[in-house]
Protein backbone atom coordinates (compact mmCIF):
# COMPACT_ATOMS: atom_id res chain seq x y z
CA UNK A 1 0.00 0.00 0.00
CA UNK A 2 2.70 2.43 1.02
CA UNK A 3 4.60 2.15 -2.21
CA UNK A 4 1.48 2.54 -4.27
CA UNK A 5 0.86 5.97 -2.83
CA UNK A 6 3.81 7.23 -4.81
CA UNK A 7 2.18 6.19 -8.04
CA UNK A 8 0.40 9.52 -8.29
CA UNK A 9 3.72 11.34 -8.25
CA UNK A 10 5.26 8.78 -10.54
CA UNK A 11 2.76 9.82 -13.19
CA UNK A 12 3.31 13.51 -12.72
CA UNK A 13 7.06 13.77 -12.30
CA UNK A 14 8.43 12.22 -15.49
CA UNK A 15 6.70 14.82 -17.64
CA UNK A 16 8.05 17.81 -15.76
CA UNK A 17 11.42 16.17 -15.32
CA UNK A 18 11.52 15.40 -19.02
CA UNK A 19 10.66 18.99 -19.85
CA UNK A 20 13.78 20.06 -18.01
CA UNK A 21 16.02 17.32 -19.30
CA UNK A 22 15.00 17.77 -22.92
CA UNK A 23 16.71 21.14 -23.19
CA UNK A 24 20.06 20.33 -21.59
CA UNK A 25 21.52 18.19 -24.33
CA UNK A 26 24.12 19.67 -26.65
CA UNK A 27 22.75 20.57 -30.03
CA UNK A 28 24.65 17.88 -31.87
CA UNK A 29 22.76 15.12 -30.06
CA UNK A 30 19.87 15.69 -32.34
CA UNK A 31 17.71 12.82 -31.22
CA UNK A 32 18.25 13.30 -27.51
CA UNK A 33 15.15 15.48 -26.90
CA UNK A 34 13.04 13.01 -28.80
CA UNK A 35 14.40 10.09 -26.83
CA UNK A 36 13.77 11.99 -23.61
CA UNK A 37 10.22 12.77 -24.57
CA UNK A 38 9.45 9.22 -25.60
CA UNK A 39 11.02 7.71 -22.50
CA UNK A 40 9.43 10.09 -20.01
CA UNK A 41 6.01 9.94 -21.57
CA UNK A 42 6.37 6.18 -21.77
CA UNK A 43 7.22 6.03 -18.07
CA UNK A 44 4.26 8.23 -17.24
CA UNK A 45 2.06 6.04 -19.40
CA UNK A 46 3.24 2.92 -17.64
CA UNK A 47 2.64 4.52 -14.26
CA UNK A 48 -0.82 5.65 -15.37
CA UNK A 49 -1.79 2.19 -16.50
CA UNK A 50 -0.51 0.76 -13.24
CA UNK A 51 -2.50 3.39 -11.39
CA UNK A 52 -5.56 2.61 -13.45
CA UNK A 53 -5.38 -1.04 -12.58
CA UNK A 54 -4.63 -0.31 -8.94
CA UNK A 55 -7.40 2.22 -8.39
CA UNK A 56 -9.91 0.10 -10.25
CA UNK A 57 -9.47 -2.69 -7.75
CA UNK A 58 -8.51 -0.89 -4.56
CA UNK A 59 -9.92 2.57 -4.72
CA UNK A 60 -8.32 5.93 -4.59
CA UNK A 61 -4.79 6.90 -3.65
CA UNK A 62 -4.01 10.15 -1.87
CA UNK A 63 -0.58 11.66 -1.87
CA UNK A 64 0.27 14.65 0.27
CA UNK A 65 2.89 16.73 -1.47
CA UNK A 66 5.81 17.30 0.85
CA UNK A 67 3.95 15.42 3.54
CA UNK A 68 1.69 18.39 4.32
CA UNK A 69 -1.87 17.36 4.80
CA UNK A 70 -4.75 19.38 3.46
CA UNK A 71 -6.20 21.91 3.94
CA UNK A 72 -2.78 23.52 4.31
CA UNK A 73 -0.92 21.21 1.97
CA UNK A 74 -1.76 20.15 -1.51
CA UNK A 75 -2.81 16.60 -2.15
CA UNK A 76 -2.74 14.54 -5.27
CA UNK A 77 -5.75 12.29 -5.60
CA UNK A 78 -5.69 9.37 -7.93
CA UNK A 79 -9.13 7.84 -8.12
CA UNK A 80 -10.49 5.75 -11.00
CA UNK A 81 -11.59 8.87 -12.87
CA UNK A 82 -8.27 10.68 -12.70
CA UNK A 83 -6.26 7.54 -13.35
CA UNK A 84 -8.35 6.95 -16.47
CA UNK A 85 -7.73 10.44 -17.79
CA UNK A 86 -4.03 10.19 -16.94
CA UNK A 87 -3.81 7.04 -18.99
CA UNK A 88 -5.52 8.73 -21.92
CA UNK A 89 -3.27 11.79 -21.77
CA UNK A 90 0.00 9.96 -21.34
CA UNK A 91 -0.90 7.27 -23.85
CA UNK A 92 -1.71 9.75 -26.58
CA UNK A 93 1.38 11.80 -25.77
CA UNK A 94 3.54 8.70 -25.94
CA UNK A 95 2.36 7.75 -29.42
CA UNK A 96 2.45 11.25 -30.80
CA UNK A 97 5.98 11.69 -29.50
CA UNK A 98 7.11 8.49 -31.17
CA UNK A 99 5.56 9.78 -34.35
CA UNK A 100 7.47 13.05 -34.05
CA UNK A 101 10.90 11.55 -34.65
CA UNK A 102 11.29 12.71 -38.23
CA UNK A 103 8.48 15.24 -38.45
CA UNK A 104 9.47 17.60 -35.66
CA UNK A 105 13.01 18.26 -36.96
CA UNK A 106 11.48 19.03 -40.33
CA UNK A 107 8.70 21.28 -39.08
CA UNK A 108 10.66 23.10 -36.41
CA UNK A 109 14.28 22.80 -37.48
CA UNK A 110 16.80 23.44 -34.74
CA UNK A 111 14.13 23.79 -32.10
CA UNK A 112 13.43 20.15 -31.34
CA UNK A 113 14.52 20.57 -27.73
CA UNK A 114 12.22 23.54 -27.24
CA UNK A 115 9.35 21.70 -28.89
CA UNK A 116 9.63 18.58 -26.81
CA UNK A 117 10.22 20.54 -23.64
CA UNK A 118 7.07 22.60 -24.23
CA UNK A 119 5.07 19.56 -25.22
CA UNK A 120 6.13 17.73 -22.08
CA UNK A 121 5.20 20.78 -20.07
CA UNK A 122 1.78 20.65 -21.67
CA UNK A 123 1.44 17.00 -20.79
CA UNK A 124 2.67 17.65 -17.25
CA UNK A 125 0.22 20.51 -16.82
CA UNK A 126 -2.67 18.39 -18.04
CA UNK A 127 -1.67 15.53 -15.75
CA UNK A 128 -1.48 17.98 -12.89
CA UNK A 129 -5.01 19.17 -13.60
CA UNK A 130 -6.21 15.62 -13.54
CA UNK A 131 -4.34 14.53 -10.44
CA UNK A 132 -4.54 17.47 -8.10
CA UNK A 133 -7.05 17.54 -5.30
CA UNK A 134 -6.82 21.25 -4.82
CA UNK A 135 -8.90 23.80 -6.70
CA UNK A 136 -6.29 26.51 -6.81
CA UNK A 137 -3.54 24.11 -7.70
CA UNK A 138 -5.72 23.05 -10.56
CA UNK A 139 -5.74 26.64 -11.78
CA UNK A 140 -1.97 26.74 -11.71
CA UNK A 141 -1.70 23.52 -13.68
CA UNK A 142 -4.36 24.81 -16.02
CA UNK A 143 -2.26 27.83 -16.76
CA UNK A 144 0.92 25.79 -17.11
CA UNK A 145 -0.70 23.57 -19.68
CA UNK A 146 -2.32 26.55 -21.38
CA UNK A 147 0.95 28.43 -21.63
CA UNK A 148 2.62 25.43 -23.16
CA UNK A 149 -0.38 25.10 -25.44
CA UNK A 150 -0.15 28.71 -26.60
CA UNK A 151 3.52 28.25 -27.33
CA UNK A 152 2.88 25.06 -29.30
CA UNK A 153 0.08 26.64 -31.29
CA UNK A 154 2.23 29.66 -32.06
CA UNK A 155 4.77 27.47 -33.88
CA UNK A 156 3.41 27.15 -37.34
CA UNK A 157 2.82 29.19 -40.42
CA UNK A 158 2.55 33.00 -40.58
CA UNK A 159 -0.96 33.05 -39.23
CA UNK A 160 -0.15 30.86 -36.26
CA UNK A 161 0.91 33.62 -33.81
CA UNK A 162 -2.37 35.44 -34.28
CA UNK A 163 -4.46 32.34 -33.79
CA UNK A 164 -2.32 31.58 -30.74
CA UNK A 165 -2.98 35.08 -29.46
CA UNK A 166 -6.71 34.66 -29.83
CA UNK A 167 -6.43 31.31 -28.11
CA UNK A 168 -4.46 33.02 -25.36
CA UNK A 169 -7.03 35.76 -24.81
CA UNK A 170 -9.95 33.35 -24.73
CA UNK A 171 -7.99 30.79 -22.75
CA UNK A 172 -7.14 33.40 -20.18
CA UNK A 173 -10.76 34.46 -19.95
CA UNK A 174 -11.64 30.83 -19.39
CA UNK A 175 -8.99 30.27 -16.77
CA UNK A 176 -9.86 33.55 -15.06
CA UNK A 177 -13.51 32.64 -14.87
CA UNK A 178 -12.47 29.35 -13.38
CA UNK A 179 -10.44 31.21 -10.79
CA UNK A 180 -13.36 33.51 -10.10
CA UNK A 181 -15.56 30.50 -9.53
CA UNK A 182 -12.98 29.02 -7.21
CA UNK A 183 -13.01 32.29 -5.26
CA UNK A 184 -16.74 32.01 -4.70
CA UNK A 185 -16.59 28.39 -3.69
CA UNK A 186 -13.62 28.94 -1.41
CA UNK A 187 -15.32 31.91 0.24
CA UNK A 188 -18.40 29.86 0.90
CA UNK A 189 -16.78 26.64 2.00
CA UNK A 190 -13.54 27.95 3.46
CA UNK A 191 -11.39 25.41 1.68
CA UNK A 192 -9.66 24.91 -1.62
CA UNK A 193 -9.52 21.18 -1.20
CA UNK A 194 -11.93 19.35 -3.48
CA UNK A 195 -12.64 16.69 -0.92
CA UNK A 196 -13.47 19.28 1.73
CA UNK A 197 -15.63 21.19 -0.71
CA UNK A 198 -17.49 18.02 -1.59
CA UNK A 199 -18.12 17.37 2.10
CA UNK A 200 -19.23 20.91 2.88
CA UNK A 201 -21.35 21.74 -0.14
CA UNK A 202 -24.25 19.36 0.56
CA UNK A 203 -24.52 20.77 4.06
CA UNK A 204 -24.86 24.27 2.66
CA UNK A 205 -27.96 23.25 0.80
CA UNK A 206 -29.14 25.83 -1.64
CA UNK A 207 -26.12 28.10 -1.39
CA UNK A 208 -26.07 30.90 -3.92
CA UNK A 209 -22.33 31.72 -3.88
CA UNK A 210 -21.35 28.08 -4.28
CA UNK A 211 -23.79 27.74 -7.15
CA UNK A 212 -22.50 30.87 -8.83
CA UNK A 213 -19.00 29.53 -8.32
CA UNK A 214 -19.87 26.29 -10.06
CA UNK A 215 -21.51 28.12 -12.93
CA UNK A 216 -18.44 30.31 -13.36
CA UNK A 217 -16.19 27.26 -13.30
CA UNK A 218 -18.33 25.53 -15.88
CA UNK A 219 -18.30 28.62 -18.06
CA UNK A 220 -14.53 28.98 -17.83
CA UNK A 221 -13.89 25.32 -18.46
CA UNK A 222 -16.44 25.31 -21.26
CA UNK A 223 -14.26 27.87 -22.99
CA UNK A 224 -11.21 25.68 -22.57
CA UNK A 225 -13.17 22.71 -23.78
CA UNK A 226 -14.42 24.55 -26.88
CA UNK A 227 -17.98 23.87 -25.91
CA UNK A 228 -20.41 25.53 -28.31
CA UNK A 229 -20.71 28.58 -28.60
CA UNK A 230 -17.24 29.08 -27.13
CA UNK A 231 -15.43 27.07 -29.77
CA UNK A 232 -14.27 29.92 -32.01
CA UNK A 233 -10.64 29.78 -30.99
CA UNK A 234 -10.21 26.09 -31.68
CA UNK A 235 -10.45 25.87 -35.45
CA UNK A 236 -7.81 28.51 -36.23
CA UNK A 237 -5.53 27.38 -33.43
CA UNK A 238 -5.55 23.80 -34.69
CA UNK A 239 -5.33 24.72 -38.34
CA UNK A 240 -2.35 27.06 -38.36
CA UNK A 241 -0.19 25.25 -35.82
CA UNK A 242 2.35 22.72 -37.05
CA UNK A 243 0.82 19.34 -37.58
CA UNK A 244 2.61 17.69 -34.67
CA UNK A 245 1.58 20.48 -32.31
CA UNK A 246 -1.99 19.93 -33.32
CA UNK A 247 -1.61 16.20 -32.99
CA UNK A 248 -0.43 16.57 -29.42
CA UNK A 249 -2.93 19.23 -28.33
CA UNK A 250 -6.07 18.13 -30.11
CA UNK A 251 -6.58 14.67 -28.63
CA UNK A 252 -5.92 15.59 -25.01
CA UNK A 253 -6.38 19.33 -24.47
CA UNK A 254 -10.14 19.49 -24.59
CA UNK A 255 -10.49 16.13 -22.85
CA UNK A 256 -8.89 17.35 -19.68
CA UNK A 257 -11.30 20.27 -19.64
CA UNK A 258 -14.05 17.67 -19.87
CA UNK A 259 -12.50 16.01 -16.84
CA UNK A 260 -12.81 19.23 -14.84
CA UNK A 261 -16.42 19.47 -15.91
CA UNK A 262 -17.12 15.96 -14.67
CA UNK A 263 -15.22 16.55 -11.47
CA UNK A 264 -17.01 19.80 -10.74
CA UNK A 265 -20.53 18.76 -11.59
CA UNK A 266 -20.63 15.22 -10.27
CA UNK A 267 -17.98 14.91 -7.57
CA UNK A 268 -17.67 18.26 -5.88
CA UNK A 269 -21.34 19.03 -6.06
CA UNK A 270 -24.32 16.84 -5.55
CA UNK A 271 -25.31 15.58 -9.02
CA UNK A 272 -28.98 15.79 -8.11
CA UNK A 273 -28.59 19.40 -7.13
CA UNK A 274 -26.67 20.24 -10.30
CA UNK A 275 -29.28 18.47 -12.39
CA UNK A 276 -32.44 19.62 -10.65
CA UNK A 277 -31.57 22.69 -8.62
CA UNK A 278 -29.76 24.57 -11.31
CA UNK A 279 -30.36 22.88 -14.66
CA UNK A 280 -26.65 23.26 -15.31
CA UNK A 281 -25.92 19.84 -16.75
CA UNK A 282 -28.97 20.11 -18.93
CA UNK A 283 -27.67 23.38 -20.34
CA UNK A 284 -24.27 21.79 -20.91
CA UNK A 285 -25.96 18.90 -22.65
CA UNK A 286 -27.98 21.09 -24.98
CA UNK A 287 -24.96 23.26 -25.77
CA UNK A 288 -23.12 20.05 -26.56
CA UNK A 289 -25.97 18.94 -28.78
CA UNK A 290 -25.93 22.17 -30.74
CA UNK A 291 -22.15 21.96 -30.93
CA UNK A 292 -22.33 18.44 -32.37
CA UNK A 293 -24.48 19.57 -35.26
CA UNK A 294 -22.76 22.90 -35.75
CA UNK A 295 -19.27 21.39 -35.73
CA UNK A 296 -20.28 18.69 -38.16
CA UNK A 297 -21.90 21.14 -40.55
CA UNK A 298 -18.83 23.36 -40.52
CA UNK A 299 -16.60 20.33 -40.97
CA UNK A 300 -18.52 19.49 -44.12
CA UNK A 301 -17.88 22.99 -45.41
CA UNK A 302 -14.09 22.76 -45.08
CA UNK A 303 -11.79 21.92 -47.93
CA UNK A 304 -8.68 21.44 -45.81
CA UNK A 305 -8.29 18.14 -44.01
CA UNK A 306 -6.76 19.62 -40.89
CA UNK A 307 -9.44 22.28 -40.58
CA UNK A 308 -12.10 19.68 -41.14
CA UNK A 309 -10.66 17.61 -38.32
CA UNK A 310 -10.57 20.69 -36.11
CA UNK A 311 -14.27 21.33 -36.60
CA UNK A 312 -14.96 17.68 -36.12
CA UNK A 313 -13.28 18.10 -32.72
CA UNK A 314 -15.86 20.73 -31.83
CA UNK A 315 -18.54 18.24 -32.71
CA UNK A 316 -16.95 15.38 -30.82
CA UNK A 317 -16.48 17.46 -27.70
CA UNK A 318 -20.20 17.98 -27.95
CA UNK A 319 -20.74 14.25 -27.42
CA UNK A 320 -18.83 14.41 -24.18
CA UNK A 321 -20.84 17.43 -23.09
CA UNK A 322 -23.98 15.59 -24.07
CA UNK A 323 -23.00 12.68 -21.88
CA UNK A 324 -22.42 15.09 -19.00
CA UNK A 325 -25.78 16.65 -19.79
CA UNK A 326 -27.56 13.35 -19.35
CA UNK A 327 -26.29 13.35 -15.76
CA UNK A 328 -26.90 9.64 -15.41
CA UNK A 329 -24.56 6.66 -15.04
CA UNK A 330 -25.08 5.74 -18.67
CA UNK A 331 -24.41 9.29 -19.77
CA UNK A 332 -21.25 9.37 -17.73
CA UNK A 333 -20.11 6.04 -19.17
CA UNK A 334 -20.75 7.42 -22.63
CA UNK A 335 -18.88 10.63 -21.91
CA UNK A 336 -15.86 8.96 -20.35
CA UNK A 337 -15.68 6.25 -22.94
CA UNK A 338 -16.00 8.80 -25.69
CA UNK A 339 -13.15 10.74 -24.18
CA UNK A 340 -10.93 7.73 -24.60
CA UNK A 341 -12.28 6.80 -28.01
CA UNK A 342 -12.17 10.27 -29.40
CA UNK A 343 -8.66 10.83 -28.10
CA UNK A 344 -7.47 7.74 -29.94
CA UNK A 345 -9.45 8.52 -33.09
CA UNK A 346 -8.37 12.13 -33.24
CA UNK A 347 -4.76 11.34 -32.50
CA UNK A 348 -4.81 8.79 -35.28
CA UNK A 349 -6.48 11.18 -37.71
CA UNK A 350 -4.11 14.01 -36.97
CA UNK A 351 -1.15 11.67 -37.36
CA UNK A 352 -2.55 10.64 -40.72
CA UNK A 353 -2.85 14.32 -41.52
CA UNK A 354 0.82 14.76 -40.63
CA UNK A 355 1.82 11.80 -42.76
CA UNK A 356 -0.07 13.21 -45.72
CA UNK A 357 1.37 16.66 -45.21
CA UNK A 358 4.93 15.46 -44.95
CA UNK A 359 4.62 13.29 -48.04
CA UNK A 360 2.51 15.45 -50.32
CA UNK A 361 3.11 18.92 -48.91
CA UNK A 362 -0.55 19.81 -48.59
CA UNK A 363 -3.77 18.63 -46.98
CA UNK A 364 -6.21 20.12 -49.43
CA UNK A 365 -8.99 17.58 -49.83
CA UNK A 366 -9.82 18.85 -53.29
CA UNK A 367 -6.40 17.79 -54.48
CA UNK A 368 -6.57 14.28 -53.03
CA UNK A 369 -6.73 11.50 -55.55
CA UNK A 370 -6.45 7.76 -55.74
CA UNK A 371 -2.68 7.77 -55.98
CA UNK A 372 -2.74 8.50 -52.25
CA UNK A 373 -3.91 4.99 -51.58
CA UNK A 374 -1.25 3.48 -53.78
CA UNK A 375 1.50 5.62 -52.34
CA UNK A 376 0.56 5.30 -48.68
CA UNK A 377 -1.63 2.22 -48.28
CA UNK A 378 -1.15 1.77 -44.55
CA UNK A 379 -1.73 5.39 -43.68
CA UNK A 380 -4.89 5.40 -45.74
CA UNK A 381 -6.06 2.18 -44.15
CA UNK A 382 -5.55 3.79 -40.75
CA UNK A 383 -7.51 6.80 -41.92
CA UNK A 384 -10.33 4.60 -43.11
CA UNK A 385 -10.56 2.75 -39.84
CA UNK A 386 -10.47 5.96 -37.81
CA UNK A 387 -13.09 7.51 -40.08
CA UNK A 388 -15.36 4.51 -39.63
CA UNK A 389 -14.91 4.84 -35.92
CA UNK A 390 -15.68 8.55 -36.04
CA UNK A 391 -18.87 7.80 -37.92
CA UNK A 392 -19.67 5.28 -35.25
CA UNK A 393 -20.00 1.99 -37.05
CA UNK A 394 -19.56 -1.22 -35.11
CA UNK A 395 -17.39 -2.89 -34.08
CA UNK A 396 -15.06 0.09 -33.87
CA UNK A 397 -14.73 2.03 -30.65
CA UNK A 398 -16.74 5.03 -31.81
CA UNK A 399 -19.91 2.99 -32.01
CA UNK A 400 -19.94 1.96 -28.40
CA UNK A 401 -19.58 5.35 -26.79
CA UNK A 402 -22.51 6.41 -28.94
CA UNK A 403 -24.37 3.29 -27.91
CA UNK A 404 -24.15 4.23 -24.25
CA UNK A 405 -25.16 7.77 -25.04
CA UNK A 406 -28.15 6.52 -26.99
CA UNK A 407 -29.09 4.21 -24.13
CA UNK A 408 -28.77 7.11 -21.73
CA UNK A 409 -30.91 9.34 -23.92
CA UNK A 410 -33.65 6.75 -23.97
CA UNK A 411 -33.40 6.31 -20.26
CA UNK A 412 -33.88 10.03 -19.72
CA UNK A 413 -36.49 10.11 -22.50
CA UNK A 414 -34.47 12.88 -24.09
CA UNK A 415 -35.41 12.57 -27.73
CA UNK A 416 -33.56 15.71 -28.75
CA UNK A 417 -30.24 14.20 -27.75
CA UNK A 418 -31.19 10.98 -29.41
CA UNK A 419 -31.99 12.73 -32.65
CA UNK A 420 -28.81 14.75 -32.51
CA UNK A 421 -26.65 11.66 -32.07
CA UNK A 422 -28.30 9.97 -35.01
CA UNK A 423 -28.22 12.99 -37.31
CA UNK A 424 -24.63 13.80 -36.48
CA UNK A 425 -23.52 10.29 -37.37
CA UNK A 426 -24.94 10.87 -40.82
CA UNK A 427 -23.16 14.20 -41.07
CA UNK A 428 -19.93 12.43 -40.12
CA UNK A 429 -20.56 10.01 -42.94
CA UNK A 430 -20.80 12.93 -45.33
CA UNK A 431 -17.51 14.52 -44.45
CA UNK A 432 -15.50 11.39 -44.06
CA UNK A 433 -16.76 9.53 -47.06
CA UNK A 434 -16.08 12.61 -49.14
CA UNK A 435 -12.42 12.12 -48.32
CA UNK A 436 -12.54 8.36 -48.63
CA UNK A 437 -14.06 8.59 -52.09
CA UNK A 438 -11.24 10.87 -53.13
CA UNK A 439 -8.60 8.55 -51.79
CA UNK A 440 -9.95 5.27 -53.01
CA UNK A 441 -11.97 5.93 -56.11
CA UNK A 442 -11.62 7.47 -59.48
CA UNK A 443 -13.68 10.60 -59.28
CA UNK A 444 -13.02 11.97 -62.73
CA UNK A 445 -15.85 9.87 -64.12
CA UNK A 446 -13.77 8.19 -66.78
CA UNK A 447 -14.19 4.47 -67.25
CA UNK A 448 -11.54 2.19 -65.99
CA UNK A 449 -9.31 1.07 -68.81
CA UNK A 450 -5.88 -0.25 -69.57
CA UNK A 451 -4.38 3.21 -69.77
CA UNK A 452 -5.15 4.38 -66.31
CA UNK A 453 -4.41 0.98 -64.93
CA UNK A 454 -0.92 1.41 -66.28
CA UNK A 455 -0.82 4.85 -64.73
CA UNK A 456 -1.78 3.40 -61.39
CA UNK A 457 0.80 0.68 -61.70
CA UNK A 458 3.47 3.32 -62.36
CA UNK A 459 2.78 5.05 -59.04
CA UNK A 460 5.36 3.96 -56.52
CA UNK A 461 4.69 3.18 -52.93
CA UNK A 462 6.22 5.82 -50.65
CA UNK A 463 4.90 5.01 -47.23
CA UNK A 464 5.97 7.09 -44.24
CA UNK A 465 9.00 5.93 -42.23
CA UNK A 466 8.39 3.35 -39.55
CA UNK A 467 8.54 5.85 -36.70
CA UNK A 468 5.52 7.61 -38.20
CA UNK A 469 3.74 4.58 -39.49
CA UNK A 470 3.83 2.53 -36.32
CA UNK A 471 1.91 4.96 -34.07
CA UNK A 472 -0.60 5.72 -36.79
CA UNK A 473 -1.41 2.13 -37.53
CA UNK A 474 -1.19 1.08 -33.92
CA UNK A 475 -3.74 3.69 -32.86
CA UNK A 476 -6.02 2.72 -35.71
CA UNK A 477 -5.80 -0.93 -34.79
CA UNK A 478 -6.40 -0.16 -31.14
CA UNK A 479 -9.74 1.36 -32.17
CA UNK A 480 -10.89 -2.13 -33.02
CA UNK A 481 -9.51 -3.51 -29.78
CA UNK A 482 -11.11 -0.73 -27.76
CA UNK A 483 -14.38 -1.41 -29.52
CA UNK A 484 -14.35 -5.10 -28.73
CA UNK A 485 -13.06 -4.57 -25.21
CA UNK A 486 -15.43 -1.77 -24.33
CA UNK A 487 -17.52 -3.89 -21.99
CA UNK A 488 -14.35 -4.75 -20.10
CA UNK A 489 -13.33 -1.11 -19.88
CA UNK A 490 -16.77 -0.06 -18.74
CA UNK A 491 -17.06 -2.78 -16.13
CA UNK A 492 -13.61 -2.59 -14.65
CA UNK A 493 -12.60 1.02 -15.08
CA UNK A 494 -15.59 3.25 -15.65
CA UNK A 495 -18.19 1.69 -13.37
CA UNK A 496 -16.01 2.12 -10.25
CA UNK A 497 -15.56 5.82 -10.97
CA UNK A 498 -19.24 6.69 -11.07
CA UNK A 499 -19.95 8.81 -8.00
CA UNK A 500 -22.48 7.46 -5.56
CA UNK A 501 -24.84 10.37 -5.96
CA UNK A 502 -25.29 9.96 -9.69
Amino acid sequence: MEAWVHLAVAILLPAFFGALVAVIFPARWRNAPWVTAVITSGLAFAASVAGLVYTASRGEVRYYLGGWEPPMGIELVMDPLSAFFCAVVTGMAFFVFIHGKTVVPRETPGKEAAFYSTALLLVGGLLGIVLTGDLFNLYVFLEISSLAGYALVAIGDRRAPFSAFRYLILGTIGASFYLLGVAFIAMETGSFNMGDVARVVPALGDSAPATVGLILIVFGIGLKMALFPMHGWLSDAYTYATSTSTAIIAPIGTKVAAYVLLRGCFYMFDPDFVREGIPLTTIIGYLGAVGIIWGSVLAIAQSDLKRMLAFSSVSQVGYIALGVGLASPLGMIGAVLHTLNHAVMKACLFLVNTNILSRFGHTDIRRFDRTFRIRMPWTMAAFTLAAISMIGLPPTAGFFSKWYLVLGSWENANYVFLGVILVSSLLNVVYFFRVLEKIYLRTDGEPYDEKNEREDAAVEREESPASMLFPTVFLAASLLVLGLANAFIVTYFIRPMIPSGL
Binding site: P71, M72, F136, Y139, V140, E143, S146, L147, Y150, A151, A154, R158, R159, P161, F162, A164, F165, L168, I169, T172, I173, S176, L179, L180, A183, A186, M187, F192, A208, P209, V212
Partner: protein
Protein backbone atom coordinates in the same frame (compact mmCIF):
# COMPACT_ATOMS: atom_id res chain seq x y z
CA UNK B 1 -25.43 37.12 -2.14
CA UNK B 2 -26.94 40.59 -2.02
CA UNK B 3 -25.96 41.27 1.58
CA UNK B 4 -22.60 39.80 0.73
CA UNK B 5 -22.11 42.53 -1.87
CA UNK B 6 -23.72 45.11 0.32
CA UNK B 7 -21.43 44.44 3.20
CA UNK B 8 -18.30 45.61 1.49
CA UNK B 9 -18.11 48.13 -1.30
CA UNK B 10 -14.83 46.69 -2.63
CA UNK B 11 -16.86 44.02 -4.37
CA UNK B 12 -18.65 46.61 -6.45
CA UNK B 13 -15.34 48.02 -7.56
CA UNK B 14 -14.15 44.52 -8.39
CA UNK B 15 -17.20 43.84 -10.50
CA UNK B 16 -16.63 47.10 -12.35
CA UNK B 17 -13.01 46.17 -12.94
CA UNK B 18 -14.00 42.74 -14.21
CA UNK B 19 -16.40 44.30 -16.67
CA UNK B 20 -13.81 46.82 -17.81
CA UNK B 21 -11.25 44.07 -18.27
CA UNK B 22 -13.64 41.86 -20.18
CA UNK B 23 -14.61 44.79 -22.34
CA UNK B 24 -10.97 45.45 -23.09
CA UNK B 25 -10.32 41.84 -24.04
CA UNK B 26 -13.35 41.30 -26.20
CA UNK B 27 -14.24 44.66 -27.72
CA UNK B 28 -10.94 46.49 -28.18
CA UNK B 29 -9.48 45.83 -31.60
CA UNK B 30 -5.87 46.69 -30.86
CA UNK B 31 -4.12 43.61 -29.64
CA UNK B 32 -2.05 45.55 -27.10
CA UNK B 33 -5.25 46.88 -25.62
CA UNK B 34 -6.53 43.36 -25.33
CA UNK B 35 -3.50 42.51 -23.25
CA UNK B 36 -4.16 45.53 -21.03
CA UNK B 37 -7.71 44.33 -20.61
CA UNK B 38 -6.36 40.95 -19.64
CA UNK B 39 -4.13 42.47 -16.98
CA UNK B 40 -7.06 44.40 -15.53
CA UNK B 41 -9.21 41.29 -15.50
CA UNK B 42 -6.63 39.11 -13.81
CA UNK B 43 -5.81 41.73 -11.20
CA UNK B 44 -9.48 42.20 -10.41
CA UNK B 45 -9.75 38.51 -9.61
CA UNK B 46 -6.68 38.64 -7.42
CA UNK B 47 -8.23 41.60 -5.65
CA UNK B 48 -11.35 39.58 -5.09
CA UNK B 49 -9.38 36.91 -3.29
CA UNK B 50 -7.55 39.42 -1.18
CA UNK B 51 -10.71 41.32 -0.38
CA UNK B 52 -12.44 38.10 0.54
CA UNK B 53 -9.72 37.35 3.06
CA UNK B 54 -9.98 40.84 4.50
CA UNK B 55 -11.62 41.46 7.85
CA UNK B 56 -12.06 44.72 9.65
CA UNK B 57 -10.34 44.78 13.03
CA UNK B 58 -7.96 42.02 12.16
CA UNK B 59 -4.27 42.25 11.60
CA UNK B 60 -1.84 40.84 9.12
CA UNK B 61 -1.07 37.18 9.65
CA UNK B 62 2.10 37.77 11.59
CA UNK B 63 2.25 36.80 15.21
CA UNK B 64 1.83 39.91 17.37
CA UNK B 65 1.83 39.96 21.18
CA UNK B 66 -0.78 42.72 21.09
CA UNK B 67 -3.32 40.36 19.58
CA UNK B 68 -4.23 37.12 21.29
CA UNK B 69 -2.80 34.50 19.00
CA UNK B 70 -5.11 31.69 20.09
CA UNK B 71 -8.07 33.47 18.50
CA UNK B 72 -7.83 33.25 14.71
CA UNK B 73 -10.51 35.92 14.39
CA UNK B 74 -7.84 38.47 15.09
CA UNK B 75 -5.78 37.54 12.06
CA UNK B 76 -6.44 37.66 8.36
CA UNK B 77 -6.56 34.34 6.57
CA UNK B 78 -3.09 34.01 4.98
CA UNK B 79 -4.00 31.17 2.62
CA UNK B 80 -5.56 33.31 -0.15
CA UNK B 81 -2.62 35.65 0.08
CA UNK B 82 -0.07 32.98 -0.56
CA UNK B 83 -2.13 31.59 -3.37
CA UNK B 84 -2.36 34.98 -4.97
CA UNK B 85 1.39 35.21 -5.08
CA UNK B 86 1.29 32.27 -7.41
CA UNK B 87 -1.57 33.78 -9.37
CA UNK B 88 0.38 36.98 -9.94
CA UNK B 89 3.37 35.09 -11.23
CA UNK B 90 1.19 32.97 -13.48
CA UNK B 91 -0.47 36.11 -14.78
CA UNK B 92 2.85 37.72 -15.57
CA UNK B 93 3.99 34.61 -17.39
CA UNK B 94 0.89 34.78 -19.56
CA UNK B 95 1.42 38.45 -20.27
CA UNK B 96 4.97 37.65 -21.26
CA UNK B 97 3.83 35.01 -23.73
CA UNK B 98 1.20 37.41 -25.03
CA UNK B 99 3.82 40.04 -25.74
CA UNK B 100 6.03 37.51 -27.46
CA UNK B 101 3.12 36.59 -29.68
CA UNK B 102 2.37 40.25 -30.34
CA UNK B 103 5.90 40.84 -31.53
CA UNK B 104 5.70 37.77 -33.76
CA UNK B 105 2.41 38.96 -35.21
CA UNK B 106 3.86 42.40 -35.83
CA UNK B 107 6.88 40.90 -37.60
CA UNK B 108 4.64 38.82 -39.83
CA UNK B 109 2.00 41.38 -40.69
CA UNK B 110 3.25 44.80 -39.58
CA UNK B 111 0.16 45.72 -37.62
CA UNK B 112 -1.57 45.09 -34.34
CA UNK B 113 -5.00 46.31 -35.39
CA UNK B 114 -7.32 43.33 -35.62
CA UNK B 115 -9.38 44.47 -38.65
CA UNK B 116 -6.27 45.29 -40.66
CA UNK B 117 -4.71 42.02 -39.59
CA UNK B 118 -7.74 40.04 -40.68
CA UNK B 119 -7.71 41.87 -43.98
CA UNK B 120 -4.05 41.08 -44.58
CA UNK B 121 -4.47 37.46 -43.55
CA UNK B 122 -7.39 36.98 -45.86
CA UNK B 123 -5.62 38.54 -48.80
CA UNK B 124 -2.60 36.25 -48.73
Amino acid sequence: MIEFLHSYYAYWAIILLLVIGLYGMLVKTNLMKKVIGMIIFQNAIILLFVAAAFKWDATVPVLDPAYPSEDPVNYLNPLPHTLMLTAIVVGVAIVGVAFALLIAIYRNYGTLEEPVLMERMRSE
